[in-house]
């Protein structure tokens, strides 16, 4: 590898990893938003995945493939526990319940000896890399595109547009809601595990409310008309702090301003087009 490329990859390695991982997180938010629900627990699911994977790797030396599976299974279980009672309520309640889940988990991580308390877990070996991160992102994108061009995708879009009308067409609302939340938790957990295995160190405060809000902003900035929107949103918001670095003090100001402008003047996000308008084909 030429030296300049090596330097470039070294300089931007974690940024490039972050693009893929945040893309996965944005997709995890997308699944829930795509059926008109709102979860602010993505960071918590991510944290569960990260801690599950890190503990398995560090304490038990579990093979990485199994680690990844477990890092999806544990958040999925948490999603079931939190989702089953609250999904019968309107969307706001799921949002608030997931905030609650996030805080309870953070407190648990902080207080547990096993998870290293506030010091977190360090020395996690770098087992993930470009291939697995972007492979997972690509697979997830393909899966969402396939789903969106199917009866399942139509039902999801119908729920997002008008849940009552969707229910009157026989769409099994609870099943879709819980499936979306579980899939979303699995994706977030996977992203958490991959992140833990490229950044060597995790701590409870990485998965707080702020992180949840950031993940939400990926999806909303990009738009949820298609799975590409959230990924684009994630890429922009991940690169933004780097691009805006010279602005120093006003960087976060710009971050906020961009979100406000995007919502007010581009309510469908930056990527408004949808996939697979079946009827639009000649």
């Amino acid at each position: 590898m030429p030296a300049f490329l090596d330097d470039f990859l070294f300089s931007y390695q974690s940024l490039i990893y972050a693009l893929g991982i945040n893309g996965l997180l944005a997709l995890s938010m997308y699944v829930v938003l795509a059926i008109g629900q709102l979860s602010l627990g993505q960071a918590a699911f991510m944290g569960l995945g990260a801690y599950t994977s890190a503990l398995l790797t560090l304490k038990l030396g579990t093979p990485f493939a199994l680690v990844l599976l477990a890092s999806m299974a544990v958040p999925a279980l948490a999603a079931l526990i939190i989702g089953v009672p609250t999904l019968r309520l309107s969307g706001v309640y799921l949002a608030l319940a997931t905030i609650g889940l996030g805080e309870v988990l953070r407190i648990a991580f902080v207080n547990s000896e096993l998870t290293g308390g506030a010091l977190g877990l360090s020395g996690i070996p770098e087992k993930a890399g470009y291939a697995i991160i972007f492979g997972a992102l690509l697979l997830a994108l393909i899966a969402f595109v396939l789903v969106s061009r199917s009866r399942l995708g139509r039902a999801m879009e119908a729920m997002r547009e008008d849940e009552v009308a969707a229910g009157m067409l026989g769409v099994h609302l609870p099943r879709y809601r819980i499936s979306a939340l579980v899939v979303s938790a699995m994706l977030a957990g996977l992203a958490g595990a991959l992140n833990a295995h490229v950044s060597s160190f995790i701590s409870p405060n990485d998965y707080g409310f702020d992180a949840a809000v950031t993940i939400l902003s990926y999806a909303l900035l990009g738009g949820i008309g298609s799975p590409f929107g959230p990924v684009v949103g994630a890429i922009i918001l991940t690169l933004l702090p780097e691009v805006l670095r010279p602005l120093h003090d006003f960087r976060l100001v710009f971050n906020g301003l961009i979100i406000v402008i995007a919502v007010l003047f581009m309510p469908h996000g930056l990527v408004p087009w949808r996939i697979g308008r079946t009827g639009a084909r000649p």
Partner: protein, 378 residues
């Protein structure tokens, strides 16, 4: 044809430019990197550190820079208190800016994330404010100039035990922050070693403002003192809460490094009276070098320096000395030179241990807050 002509005409010009560049090369700045929290909720630490660096930088460059006349420069990268951004910053300083040494990052948390990156690329990284356990265990390229809590806290507690006859204490610590948690671990070990009884251990969140429940419980246990590991915000709140609950005057708060800031007295007012902290440096230190630093700092920034600024100030001189000793702006040589630097700055005599921690603890002073100012206690 025309192209060729201009190219020919440009030749002598290019040659002269080249020689000018060669000349300038010897005066080209030596640029090192620094990762600090410059934005976001914790930027006060990063800004104090940056101020300390900049003040020292001015002085270094006024006195002829490094490596025989080359000015020293610092490229700052903002971590915003976020470990991912700290990693990005470290990678960019190394891969893009090609710095031979990195100062920072601000928090121990960030060092745990960025330290392995620098270590892997064999670039020395020098923490000036990272006091948690295990920082220098990251690897042979990770240094710190800040005295770890493990060196300071035992001195403070031992002094309090000897001078005040403290036998039983209550402990409070912020359990959601790596810094305060790790200082607590040190306190716990030191208390056990000194044979001081711990009546209860209470926790709080770093962003809490109300500590009345914990303090009420502590008051009921009648401790001789309260040992607190907290940052300025929570620490001030604890002092105010303690006063509001009417603790007896003789029950002092003994703090870790996090409480060692003039800000505590500004916020807590007379509730801070009697608080003891151990410090590698304090603003009232009689030492003339220290006094000169305080004056220069006040003149430049129109505010009081704290220990973070002081540690940063000394660190830059230490680093400059190492670069000079290395004889070249090369990471490996600087790393080797750093280990051998002997320097006496505003914090007192300084050198590194074999494990790249500060060797000298003789500079540690136990200080007491009294009527808005620090007084030496030991």
């Amino acid at each position: 044809m025309l192209k060729k002509l201009t190219a020919l005409a440009a030749l002598p010009l290019a040659a002269s430019l080249w020689s000018a560049a060669a000349l300038a090369q010897s005066k080209e700045p030596v640029t090192i990197g620094a990762i600090e929290i410059l934005t976001g909720p914790n930027n006060k630490y990063g800004i104090a550190i940056k101020n300390g660096f900049d003040l020292a930088l001015e002085s270094v460059n006024k006195n002829g820079g490094v490596l025989g006349g080359r000015p020293l420069a610092i490229t700052y990268e903002d971590s915003a208190g976020n470990k991912d951004q700290a990693i990005n910053a470290a990678r960019q300083l190394i891969g893009r800016s090609k710095v031979p040494l990195i100062l920072g990052p601000t928090l121990s948390n960030e060092m745990f994330a960025a330290g392995p990156v620098a270590n892997e690329r064999k670039i020395p990284i020098v923490g000036t404010s990272t006091t948690a356990n295990g920082i220098t265990a990251i690897g042979p390229y990770v240094f710190r100039t800040s005295l770890p809590e493990a060196d300071v806290v035992p001195v403070t507690l031992k002094t309090a035990q000897q001078k005040l006859g403290i036998k039983k204490v209550a402990v409070m610590y912020g359990n959601d922050d790596a810094f305060t948690k790790s200082a607590y671990d040190v306190m716990k070990a030191a208390l056990e070693k000194l044979g001081i009884e711990t009546l209860t251990t209470e926790t709080f969140g770093g962003k809490d403002t109300d500590f009345s429940a914990q303090l009420t419980k502590i008051k009921g246990l009648n401790p001789d003192a309260i040992v607190v590991s907290a940052l300025v915000e929570a620490g001030s709140g604890i002092l105010l809460g303690k006063k509001a609950l009417g603790f007896p005057e003789k029950v002092r708060v003994i703090g870790g490094n996090g409480l060692n800031a003039p800000k505590v007295m500004e916020i807590a007012g007379d509730a801070a009276n009697g608080t003891l902290v151990g410090s590698p440096w304090f603003i009232g230190k009689a030492d003339p070098a220290s006094q000169k630093f305080v004056e220069a700092y006040k003149a430049k920034y129109n505010m009081d320096p704290d220990q973070f600024a002081a540690q940063a100030y000394d660190t830059l001189f230490i680093v400059a000395a190492a670069i000079n000793a290395a004889g070249a702006a090369e990471p490996e040589k600087i790393k080797d030179a750093l280990g051998k630097v002997k320097y006496t700055g505003v914090m007192g005599p300084f050198s590194f241990t074999e494990n790249r921690d500060p060797a000298e603890t003789s500079g540690v002073v136990v200080i007491e807050m009294r009527d808005g100012g620090f007084k030496q206690f030991n």
